[in-house]
């Protein structure tokens, strides 16, 4: 160590005494994982509470919006881009099945429309304003009229319970929450909130699907006198999809197998016969037998209104 003799710093007598910085004063001695745990669970807790609160408020408000006002707001959202000059036979036949089911919900304030979407994935949607969209893939997958009637009845159930509006409201609420978290805490925080929020929404989604199933089953039972065929579609789909525990957790809809069991239980409780004759689909609805016609580009979604 070197020395400066007697360094006098102007008015003071100071000795140079070199020392090392002290550790632990400018840096908090907290394990980063402890800090991470507190913050992550804090954000998850706040997100779940906020998204759930929005969900409950939306569920409370949505049913009080008159269907007429909803139709007024959304009627031109899902119009076919070009009104089909001559409605395709498949859409007409689909419309006929819808009419058979919807007469059993006489006090509906909607004027329903159907659209066929050119997608291979079997799916059906209830869109705001009273439009039911069915994919070509779903029409190809169903084997009886009862099966199709239940799908349409399920979508009517979504309208009956105003699920499409509730879903829309929750979606908007969720976006606002994520936007706010993103502003406050950046991308990482927003991602964490998105995961927590989506899992919270799953509970709402599944309750809705089960309620729509029950409504649809009631319409099918009223039309055909029995519920045979209603759950056939889920049996077909279950055969082609593998359902792991993770898939079940992430899915918005209950698993196909669970739905079959639940539908049976609902029918039994209501005293609807589980067996009966299934009605044929009719040639206009059946899957095209010529494979070349399937690959031919389909027209825009057809509105039969």
């Amino acid at each position: 160590m070197h020395s400066f003799g007697v360094p006098s710093w102007r008015d003071h007598d100071l000795t140079f005494d070199p020392s090392l910085p002290t550790e632990g004063i400018n840096v908090s001695r907290v394990h980063p994982l402890r800090e991470a745990l507190i913050l992550v669970f804090g954000v998850i807790g706040v997100t779940v509470a906020t998204v759930a609160s929005i969900g409950f408020v939306v569920d409370w408000v949505a049913p009080s919006i008159p269907p007429k006002y909803e139709v007024y707001l959304f009627s031109d959202w899902f119009e076919a881009e070009e009104p089909a000059a001559a409605p395709k036979p498949r859409a007409e036949a689909l419309r006929a099945v819808l009419d058979r089911v919807s007469v059993h919900w006489p006090d509906s304030e909607y004027r329903f429309r159907v659209q066929i979407w050119d997608q291979a994935e079997p799916n059906a949607l209830a869109l705001p304003g009273g439009t039911i969209a069915v994919t070509e893939g779903l029409l190809d997958a169903v084997t009886s009229e009862n099966e199709l009637a239940f799908v349409l009845g399920h979508e009517l159930g979504h309208f009956h319970n105003r699920d499409h509006l509730r879903g829309l409201g929750r979606g908007v609420g969720m976006s606002l929450v994520l936007f706010a978290v993103g502003i406050g805490g950046g991308g990482g925080a927003a991602q964490l909130a998105a995961i927590a929020g989506q899992l919270t929404q799953r509970g709402f989604d599944r309750d809705q699907e089960s309620a729509a199933d029950e409504f649809g089953l009631g319409l099918v039972a009223a039309e055909y006198g029995h519920t045979a065929g209603a759950s056939d579609l889920f049996e077909h789909l279950r055969a082609t999809s593998d359902a792991s525990a993770l898939a079940s957790y992430l899915s918005t809809h209950p698993l196909h197998g669970d739905r079959v069991i639940r539908l049976e239980a609902v029918a039994r409780a209501a005293g609807w016969p589980l067996t009966g004759e299934r009605s044929a689909l009719g040639s206009k609805l059946e899957a095209p037998s010529d494979p070349s016609s399937e690959t031919e580009p389909a027209a825009d979604p057809v509105s039969t209104e």
């Binding site: 140079f16 913050l39 804090g42 406050g184 898939a247």
Partner: protein, 161 residues
Amino acid sequence: MEDAMGIAVLQVGIPLALLLLGYFVGGAVERRHYASIQERELRWRSLPAVNFRTVPGGWIVDDATLVLGNVVISVDYFKRFLAGLRMLFGGRVKVYESLMDRARREALVRLKVETVERGYHALVNVRMETSQLASGRGGSGVAGIEVLAYGTALKLRTPPT
């Protein structure tokens, strides 16, 4: 279903991988840096570096010059993520404290090395500046922090022995 699974894996997997990378690699980098800082602080501890603005009386100064010690340190994803969550609630951003501490001490050590290598004996009027380097085009996002230490290096008639 498979699409949904794929999206979920991407949505959860990529940030999780970045968090683990930040925690383990970033943590190891920080431990190594601290070890290096402590070793060099010990080596250069006897070089006086003070923030007095004037030369201590009794020193005979032959030469004086400006010397600089500068460092830029980046934030790992783990620290950035936690700081983001902390910004929602407020409070001490503890994960950034070690970052600032390392940067200040590294800058000071470099200042001393610069002083010695240029043949000077002591430092007065030592100052520090901090700035944040932004990564985004709009000036958003932290790419890293810069600490600049500067001071007046003195060449003494009777160098310390």
